[in-house]
């Protein structure tokens, strides 16, 4: 896949605060890229710089080889943006609001296209209503409809599912996957790591204005994968001697469960521990192993930085 967005050494300073610090990043055509980071990490600032809402203090941003500052019309034409907040003119009707968004991109009214989007987002019945009357979830869907009104090649979604219910979240995920199938490149920021885990092809982690890691999601999960195994015991246990030698083992649930974190399958660590239990006459009723989630990996990376 060729690079569609190229960010080179971009910094952004607000007053004395460096919101972005020498950020370099490539976004590939047709991928879903999840940008993760804690609050104030610089996610929205980075998106704003790409979309033209703020001007970087230094560095270059190119969209399909067009510079966002010198060829802003060419770059913005390709981009649709769904912001984090719900900034809408409440007096306008749903349809006219979408038409306004389309018109700003130099496109004439296309009732068919806008109605199709509104139907996809279950807003068609509300098309003539004022935005004031919409629920929060509907407003969020409307923002997505507005961003899609000019048929962008690149879609930025800044926390698209923040504050929406589970059902709507699933609908938005489906819409994102559908857009990807249509060839749209999607850049997603989210606090819900589960969302990135579900949707993303690649993941970037940003913290304190710096990109600390960019990886294919599957590679990231496998590289940082740590299994946790729970062994349910048949009776309560108090710190046995073999636990003191192995820091990966701890007792939970009032001594009824052994928790083994990050044990190595290749060196048969689990087998050794099971043998130890047998040798010490400790019976168990259940063994359960779970992989750590992207959320665990994210927290580990951010906390250790």
């Amino acid at each position: 896949m060729k690079s569609q967005i190229s960010i080179e050494n971009v910094s952004k300073v607000f007053g004395g605060h460096k919101a972005l610090n020498n950020v370099s990043l490539e976004i590939k055509e047709g991928e879903i890229f999840a940008l993760l980071g804690p609050n104030g990490a610089g996610k929205t600032t980075l998106i704003s710089a790409i979309c033209g809402l703020c001007m970087q203090s230094s560095g270059n941003i190119k969209v399909n080889n067009f510079d966002t500052l010198t060829h802003y019309k060419e770059t913005r034409n390709q981009i649709g943006l769904v912001p984090q907040e719900l900034p809408l003119d409440g007096f306008e009707s749903v349809y006219n609001s979408c038409q306004f968004s389309r018109g700003l991109f130099g496109l004439k009214d296309s009732r068919d296209h806008i109605e199709k989007i509104l139907k996809t987002l279950s807003l068609f019945d509300k098309r003539d209503e004022q935005i004031f009357g919409l629920s929060g979830g509907m407003k969020r869907r409307l923002l997505i409809a507005k961003a899609l009104a000019h048929e962008p090649k690149i879609l930025f979604l800044d926390e698209p599912t923040a504050g929406v219910d589970v059902s709507l979240r699933r609908d938005i995920w489906k819409l994102i996957e559908d857009q990807k199938k249509m060839g749209v490149t999607i850049i997603l920021t989210t606090h819900y790591i589960e969302e990135a885990e579900q949707l993303a092809d690649r993941v970037g982690i940003i913290n304190s204005g710096e990109i600390i890691l960019v990886k294919e999601k599957t590679a990231l999960m496998s590289e940082f994968s740590k299994k946790t195994t729970f062994i349910r015991l048949s009776k309560k246990l108090k710190n046995p001697s073999f636990m003191k030698k192995n820091k990966k083992i701890s007792l939970t649930e009032n001594g009824m469960t052994l928790k083994l974190v990050g044990i190595n399958n290749k060196s048969n660590e689990l087998q050794s521990i099971v043998n130890l239990l047998s040798q010490n006459g400790i019976a168990f009723t259940e063994i359960n192993t779970v992989d750590n989630s992207l959320e665990d990996i994210f927290l580990d990376l951010v906390e250790t930085q």
């Binding site: 001007m55 019309k73 991109f105």
Partner: protein, 253 residues
Amino acid sequence: MNIQAAITIYKFEMARFRRTIFQSLVAPIITTSLYFVVFGAAIGSKIETINGVSYGSFIVPGLIMLYLMTESINNAAFGIYFPKFVGSIFEVLSAPVSSLEATVGYVGAAASKSTIIGLMIFLTSNLFVTHDIKYPLVMAIFIILTAITFSLFGFIIGIWAQNWEKLSIIPTLLVTPLVFLGGSFYSIDMLPEFWQKVSLLNPVFYLISGFRWSFFGTSEIPIALSIVAILSFMAICLAVIAIIFKTGYRLRT
């Protein structure tokens, strides 16, 4: 050039005007009628003609200018401030819209609204006084130039303002006094000599005087000076807007 974007912004702003058309048009008409009743009939009947023009007719250009300027400023300032206030300005800023296209859309709509209101006031004045317009083409040019120039000024105020108080402070505390003291309701010949000289420092005086010339063919200062004054103010406003968009002042972070 993204002409469609300018048209889109223009139509969007005019739709806002249509939504509030009753309040937009009826309020100025009622206020104008009151001006004619109070100044034209009650007080005006005690005043002799000014340069051969009855007082009722004399105040018509001043009244139109008063509304033209204040409505242009208010409409343009609100037009850009409101999307800033609710945050929807992000759409314009992230779209392929140049500063020229955005300005044409917002300022064009504000100027159109104030021109419509100005014409409504002119029509209302015909219910109270009869007058022939000596130079209708010049009158039309003055209306259009004033509407555009003061809409540009209002656009700057709307970008500059960070709260509702700032939005109204310049129109209320600066523009309205300048319009009232710029000879809207009197000829500066009626003032003592010192205040006549002070009036010459008021830029609005040149506009009202020139506009009045298009009605009656007489004015306190040469018409060319009035045209230079309004074109100069327009050039200053355009330069300020160009700087605003280049630097992103209070628009882009």
